[in-house]
Amino acid sequence: MRPYFALLAFVAAAAVTGLITGPAGLGVGDLGRILGGGGDARDRLILLDIRAPRVVAALLIGAALGVSGGLFQALLRNPLAEPYLLGVSSGAALGAVLALVTGVSAAGGPVLPLAALAGSLAAISVVFRVARVAGTMDTRVLILAGVVTSAFLSACITLLLVLGPAEALRSAYFWTLGSLSGVSWSMNVILAVYAIPASLIAFRLARDLNALSLGEEAAAALGTNVERTKRSAYVIGSLLAAVTVAAAGIIGFVGLVVPHGVRLLWGGDHRRLLPMSFLAGGGVLAFADAAARGPWGVVEIPIGVVTAIVGVPFFLLLLRRGMTR
């Protein structure tokens, strides 16, 4: 149980850090007062309607990316797998770019997220159909189909951006960097309703994912319904990634490194790895978001830059430690 307490403390620390970070000041003391029902209207607005939704979104999106990465690594039996490997992000990006280039995103509201979601769902189903031959899903074909679809979609994006208006290029660039600045309470409700049950179903797959790490034949001999397990892992992992991309753009690195780091620290049993990646992913992204908007005044660093610049050295350290076993 100790790793879970450590992770819960990590999540709590990340949440508090996220709440007390921002250009308006407001420290731990203010936080206590406002949560207790006090404080003036302006401070309450900043904390409860600007910072809190961001912190909650970071926790949910990071958690979804952590679980999604863990699922893809188990499904493809490869520690280098990550949520965006099979075209979810390129599909979302194409959807978003289409919305930007055609100008429909100017309508505002949920148009851009919905366009991104539609794009990633299209990519997911194309890759899934290609990889399914005679009722079985070949994970080697899945990787190839995913990577090739991804390349094709990227080419389409480039073509659209080159031919489209210059303003769309800039917006698309910032969209692909990922940002939590657009989140709201209503989006958080959608994220939670979606990511939490999907993650619970993923946790239920853990036993069969453990068997799958020995290969498909061995897993079948251990009583695993191999095709159903692979299908579920692919669909749940992809949908978790898709909803995060729709909500906050492409946030790299978390889905790759969080499950990998959990595996190095606490072992590869998916019964623990997936829930731990849920917690660790949330904590990591909430910290990253605090770092992205914290000490830079009005400028906000793209969150993907933070996750990579802070995360990579830490990850390399972990990797070195893990390799000495």
Binding site: N78, L205, G215, E217, A221, L222, G223, G267, G268, D269
Partner: protein
């Protein structure tokens, strides 16, 4: 528990010829049977068909009167354990956790392993003499220890029947003997039915009461070692001249020979 192949043929997708052709085999409880034969003869295919891992057409594998592939997979896995020759984990795993995978057919997806499951893992580790290695990583084991870990994983499944594909591959003669002796002990103590694919004719003749000699996807001979491991049968199976020596108590020694060798 009875397991048999009934007039079973297996053709791999894309192949024109069946890998296994009209094979009939029935296995008795509490015996160790060796499946012998040259490379590509269909030994592993027979084992996979018995494990319900491949469809037979025509024919079928039958466990307790029910077609192997129509059993619910988890129910089947509580009765029949299968260990392939090249089973490796994609991620680093400790010996205890690897052996614990053998409990998967019993473990509830939500609740996880019960105390009974943990106890079964402990017993399996002990039987395979792995007590001291439980916390080691699988990748750090020697070849002999790794094969014992595979046997322990199959034991943790608490099966009636164990299907082992080359359980002594890559072992030196001492470790190979120890592995066969361990299997003999398990067969005797637990009245397990063990079916092994192996290339060691000598160990098979000593430890297995029954030898199935396979060549070109069909059964060339089936019976006690003395009846099956004769020079002309072996020569026919392996397509190479073979001489044998019978050493009472030590089994049959088979050696390949060249035409010029003195008898």
């Amino acid at each position: 528990m009875s397991l048999r192949l009934a007039n079973a043929s297996v053709t791999y997708p894309g192949a024109t010829e069946p890998a296994v052709h009209q094979v009939d085999l029935t296995f008795e409880e509490g015996t160790h049977t060796a499946i012998l034969g040259p490379n590509g003869a269909g030994k592993s295919t027979i084992l996979r068909a018995l494990g319900g891992l491949l469809p037979c057409d025509p024919g079928e594998a039958v466990l307790d009167g029910r077609e192997a592939r129509s059993w619910p997979r988890r129910e089947f896995a509580r009765r029949v354990a299968f260990v392939s020759s090249a089973e490796e984990s994609a991620f680093p795993v400790r010996v205890r956790d690897y052996v614990a995978l053998g409990r998967n057919p019993y473990v509830d997806g939500w609740r996880g392993p019960s105390p009974a499951d943990r106890e079964a893992v402990g017993v399996a580790l002990h039987r395979a003499d792995l007590d001291g290695l439980a916390s080691r990583y699988l990748g750090s084991l020697s070849a002999g220890e790794l094969q014992r870990a595979r046997i322990a994983r199959a034991l943790a499944q608490d099966p009636d029947i164990m299907l082992l594909d080359e359980p002594t591959a890559h072992l030196d003669l001492g470790h190979e003997f120890a592995a066969f002796a361990l299997l003999a002990e398990l067969v005797a103590q637990l009245s397990l039915t063990v079916i092994s694919v192996t290339h060691n004719l000598n160990m098979a003749s000593r430890f297995c009461g029954r030898i199935v000699l396979v060549a070109d996807g069909t059964i060339l001979a089936d019976g006690p070692p003395g009846d099956v491991l004769t020079p002309d049968r072996l020569a026919r199976a392996f397509d190479w001249p073979v001489d044998t020596m019978i050493r009472p108590g030590l089994g049959i020694v088979a050696v390949p020979v060249a035409p010029g060798d003195a008898p």
